[in-house]
Point group: D2
Chain length 136, copies 4
């Protein structure tokens, strides 16, 4: 599997309510931007909500991380790209946020998802039927 093939991007504009006293986006809000791209990526793999996710499995975030390079300002246009980095035991999704207004990389991050069954038992490996959709 060439992971970057499964790459999805979304674009959005930094809203007023995300800007803090220092005039830049509060660091915690970046995880909302990552979520928008992750939703798009999983949806592209037919893994958003439906016959598998929700019906038979649940995704549970076990790690999130973000490294901030250049601050984001009010009304900046950003592009958030998400791609699959690893899908064996855990689904590792990597992200890059690019500031389209200033032409700079704003941040990089990742979230790692574990899969549980409906009784919330953590599965040691990503189930085959999920894996197949991720590499398809």
């Amino acid at each position: 599997m060439t992971a970057r093939q499964k790459e999805t991007s979304i674009e959005l504009e930094v809203p007023f309510r995300h800007i803090d006293m220092m005039g830049v986006v509060w660091h915690g809000h970046y995880y909302a931007y990552l979520e928008e791209a992750r939703t798009a990526l999983l949806r592209a793999c037919d893994l958003d909500a439906g016959d598998l996710i929700g019906a038979r499995y649940v995704f549970f975030v076990i790690e999130s991380k973000c490294r901030y390079a250049h601050p984001l300002y009010y009304a900046d246009r950003i592009r958030v790209t998400a791609w699959l980095k690893d899908i064996e035991h855990r689904i590792h999704i990597a992200y890059e946020i690019h500031n389209l207004t200033h032409g700079k990389r704003a941040a990089r991050g990742h979230t790692i998802l574990a899969t549980t069954d409906l009784e919330k038992n953590l599965l040691l490996e990503t189930p085959d039927e999920i894996r197949r959709r991720l590499v398809a």
Copy 2:
């Protein structure tokens, strides 16, 4: 029923992440402060989650409103008071936010809750068993 008898207050401190570019609390965050006081009020009535709410009924917010008097700043201590204003058809909860740091009234507001059964059918009146707890 003398509604103001059912009055509950909570105190909290304005966190950094709620302050916007203008240096004051973004207006939408006040609804989080109201929620803290509402939770305390409903809990004092034994109506938070348990044998009635969650098990047999669901509260659904049908209206929220806030009037802002004096802005709130980073690290201000506030007291949010909630009380029952009307409980017949809808549960009308009123609020007052007092800035303990500056000694001024910061805001007033209300939220109106309707009750639904577990199938999400709106009930035309607040069920008796809920009403009894609210006036107890």
Copy 3:
């Protein structure tokens, strides 16, 4: 002035993180949706940030209100329309949220803005130079 002429709409999709334990959008998040439409409306009037707002005047929200009709669910597409209702003493902006997925009106609301000068003195009337842009 025919206020509804100054009408602006934006569309967005309800994100996962806005859905609460009851499976619907938490009522406080609607104010974020209203903000997106208000930003678009003020920008269409050239009143977002620039020579007047930010440079000479500040808008301050003095009242916000929302009435919820039909709940919003995860991934619902919504259209938020904002228009000017009154601009004399205060700038009264009204909103309607329409659920494009279910074809129902989801909510109505308003926010009222007062204008202050840079020293945060509340102005009794909307300044002429702002008013002209609103009715242009």
Copy 4:
């Protein structure tokens, strides 16, 4: 310096609005909990806002990370402990979230702060006058 000497804890209760569709706290909200503990820690070092921070320097978050162990549920009481792990080039603050209701460790995390001057120039080392307060 024995970093864990500079350890500060805060306690809070998980609010309704932080719970997502899966019935647990949405992963991004943990960064709000970390912030509450960081504010308390920096305040204990006299580095919240005042003669140094705000007046001569600005803290800028350059990395945030959280590892989630056991989910948090509505109304869980949690204790968030923050301590200084490294203060040479960057201020590295580590955190642990303990669920007091279930008696389990809920999460661990860190945020790394860089210092800038008021012109937003990144400083290569933590200024001495800040460092002195952190180790005092």
